[in-house]
Amino acid sequence: MPRWPPVMTETAGSQAAGADAAGAGATPAGIARVKKAGTEVVGTKPGGTGPVETEVVGTEPGGTEAVGTDLGETGAAGQPAGAAATRTITTEAVATRVRFVCEIVVQTARLMVGVPDYPTYVAHRKTTHPDLPVMTYKEFFRERQDARYSVGKGRFRGCC
C-alpha cells in the first residue's frame, strides 16, 4: 500500500518534469535537489536531546524553513542518525537554496494574482493525460485570468 501523501517527491518531481517539458528558465532540478537536502537536514534528530540544529543553511530564514520538512515523513527514510551534524556548507548548496527561495517568491507573486505554476500544469497534463493537448502558456494565462473573475466557478473574493 502506498504511503500517502508523497508530497515532497511528487511536487519536486512534477516540477522537474514540467520545466523540462516547457523549457522554462526555472531550476526545477535544483528544487528537487534542495528538497532532498532539506529532508536530510530535518529528519535526523539524534536521540531527541535537543532541537535539530538547522545551521546547515545560513542564508535565508525563509529558505531554511521552506526547505524543511512539510510532513515529518522524512525520518522514515532511514537516514542514519547524526549524518546531518557532519554535513558541511558548500557554495553550491547555498546557491541552490537561494535559487529555490527566488523561485518561491516568484511563484507566490504569480499565485497572488491567480496564476498558478505553469510547469506544474504541463507536467500534470503530460503524466495524467498524455494523449490530450496541453494549453500553451498564452492560453493557460487567459484561462486563469478569466477563471479568477468568474464567480460561476466558485470563486469569491472578499474585501478585507
Binding site: W4, P5, V7, E10, T11, G43, G48, G50, P51, V52, T54, G62, A66, G68, D70, L71, G72, E73, T74, G75, A76, I104, V106, Q107, T108, A109, R110, L111, M112, V113, G114, V115, P116, D117, T120, Y121, V122, H124, R125, T128, Y137, K138, F141, R142, E143, Q145, D146, A147, R148, Y149, S150, V151, G152, G154, R155, F156, R157, G158, C159, C160
Partner: protein
Amino acid sequence: MGRPASAVTGRWGPVVRRHEVNDEILLLEVEVTLQAKLAWIAVAALGALSFAVVALTRGEPVNAAWLVIASVCIYFIAYRFYALYITGKVFGIDPKRVTPAYRHNDGLDYVPTNRYVLFGHHFAAIAGAGPLVGPVLAAQMGYLPGTLWILAGVVFAGAVQDMTVLFLSTRRDGKSLGDMIRAEMGPVAGGIAGIGILLICIIVLSVLALVVVNALKGSPWGTFTVFCTIPIALVMGIYSRFIRPGRIAEMSLIGAALLLAALIYGRTVSETPELASWFNYSGETLALIVIGYGFVASVLPVWLLLAPRDYLSTFLKVGTILLLTAGVIIVHPDLQMAPITRYIDGSGPVWAGSVFPFLFITIACGSVSGWHALIASGTTPKMIENESQIRFIGYGGMLMESLVAIMAMIAASVIHPGVYFAMNSSAGLIGADPGHAAEVISSWGFAVTPDILTQVAREVGESTILSRTGGAPTLAVGMASILSGFLGGSALAGIWYHFAILFEALFILTTVDAGTRVCRFMIQDLIGNVIPAFRATESWANNIIGSGLACALWGYFLYQGVIDPLGGIWTMWPLFGSANQMLAAIALTLCTVVLFKMKRHRVAWVTIVPTAWLVLCTVTAGLEKVFSSNVAVGFLAHAQRFGDAVAAGKILAPAKTLHEMNRIVFNDYLDAGLAGLFVAIVLIVVVYGVADARKALRNPRDTTVEISGAAMAAGDD
C-alpha cells in the same frame, strides 16, 4: 515490518517520536526539550513585560515598539499552543489524508502548492481595506481598547474561524461556505445565509466606495493619480493580452513605473490652478463617477481593466504593508494618542456607541472577519498540500492580518490627537474653518492650534484636512509621518500621503469592481429562479441589466452616505461592521455544528465561545442601532426626532432644507430595516445551528458529510 522510531521536530517545537508498524502509528511520544521550554517561557515573559509597559504607562507617550513586541509574542504563543491544540485535539488533523489538491489535481484550480507560496496567496486574498480602516476609527477610544480586541479577537475568534473553515472546506473538496451550510445545515439555512451574503456584499461595497470618495473629494492630487490608474490599466491590459501575453512581471513593472510618474506629476497638477480645476470634485460628483466606473468595469472584459488593476493593487498592497511594517519597526515612533480617551462612554465624534458592543463591530477585519470565511472556502483549500499545513495557512495567515491591524492602529496613534479628531469628525460638528475646528476640538480636551491643522495640510499637499472621514486619509497621514521618518524626511511627506491614498483607493476600487461582478452573478442567480433566461451569464443584455442592478444597489447607499449631513461613515460604518461580524457568526455556527456532528462536542467550545460572543455583540449592536432611545445610536429614535421636527415644520441641524430632513428620516428607516434584517438572519441561522447540534448530539455516530479520505484515495481524479 516494524520501523524504527522516527523523530521529527521543528526548531522550537517538541520532539515527536513515532513508532510505526505497517503505517499504523503505535506510539506517539511527545517530549518538549528543556531548550524549547525555556525559549517559550522567555517569549511569554517578553510579551508580558511589553504588555505591562503598554497598559500601565500613564502620562508619558508609549513607544510603538512595545505594542508590536507584545502583539508578536502573543501571536507566537497562540500559534504554537492554542492553534496546535485545535488542530490536534479538536480537528484531529490527519497528515495521511488526501487533500483536494491531490484528489482533483488538474494543474489549474486544484494544484498541490508549496505552503509558503500558498500562505502568500491566502494572505493577499484576505488582506484589504478592513484591517486598515477599522482600527483607525477605533482609535477614538484610545489605542488600548482597540488593541486588546484585535489581539483577543484574532486569537480566539478570527484565526479560529479562518482555520476551521479552511479545515472544513479542505475535507469537502474545497466547497464554498454557502454550499457547506446547505450540505450540513439544510437548504433553508443555506438560502437565508445566501441572502445575507448578498446584502453584506452590497453594504461592504458601498462603505468601501465611500471611504474612497471621502479621501478624494477636493483633492486634485489624489483624484488625478487615481484617475491615471485607468489609462495605465488599459495599457497594461493590452500589453499582457496582445504584445507580451501573460508577462505579469513586465506589465506590473511598467504599470508601477507609470503610477509613480503619475504620483509625482500629481503635485504639479495640484499646484497649477488650471489643471487642478479638472480634478477637483465634490463628493456627490465623485460618487457618481465611482458608480459609473464600477458599472463600466464590470461590463468590460476582465483582461482590459479589472485584471491589470487587480495585479497592480495586489502587489502595491502587499508591498505597502511590508513597507509600513518596516517603517514602524525602524522608526518605532511614540504613540501620541492616549491609551484610553473619554469616548469609551459612547459619545465619540467619529462613530457613535460605547465600547460594548460597538468597539467589537468597528474593528472587524483585524480581529475577526466573515469575509475570510468566503476566501478560506474558496481557492486556498483546493491548493493545500497536506492537512498538517492548515494551521500555518489558516491560523498563521490571520495572525498576519491582525498584525496589519496593529500597524494601522499605530499609524493612527502616532499623529497628533487633535489632528486625528479634526480629520475624523464630520463638518457638522467642527465646521470647515481651521480656527473654529481647533477651538471645538480643544474644548473636547485635545489641545490643538489652527496652525497645526493648516501645517499638516500643507505638508501633505492638501488644501485642508478637516473632516476627511473614512479612515483612509488618517492612515495616510500616519503612514506619511512614519515613512518620511526613514525615507525622505518631511520633503516627501506629500508624496507618501498620496501614495497611501493611491494604494488604498486602488485596491478598494478593485474590490468594488470585483464585488460588483460577484453581486451581479448573485442577482442573476436569484432572479434566475423566477426568470430562468436571466441566468445566462454570457448574454450581453443580462450582463448589462445585472451589473446595472448591482451598481444601483450599492450606489444608492454610497450616494446616501456622501450626501448624509451627518457624515456617511458615522452612520454606515456600524452597519458595515455588524454585517461583517454577522457573517463570521454564521460561519462559526457552521463550524460548531460540524464539530458536533464529528462527535467532537466536548472540545467544541473553541468555536462555541467566539460564536456566542459574536452573536451577543452583533445582535446587541443591531438591536441598539434599531431601538436605542439614544438619538446618536438608534435609527428609529433619530427618525422619530427628525420626523417630529418635519411635522412641526422645523429644520434641525445638520440638515438645511425640509427636503434633507425627509431624506434623513427615510434613510433612518431604511438603515433600521437593514440592521433588523441582519439580526433576523443571524438569529435564524443560530436557531438552525442549535437544532442541528442537538440532533447530532443524539446520534451516536459521526454524521458529517465530509469526503472520506480512504474511499477517495482509491478512485483518483
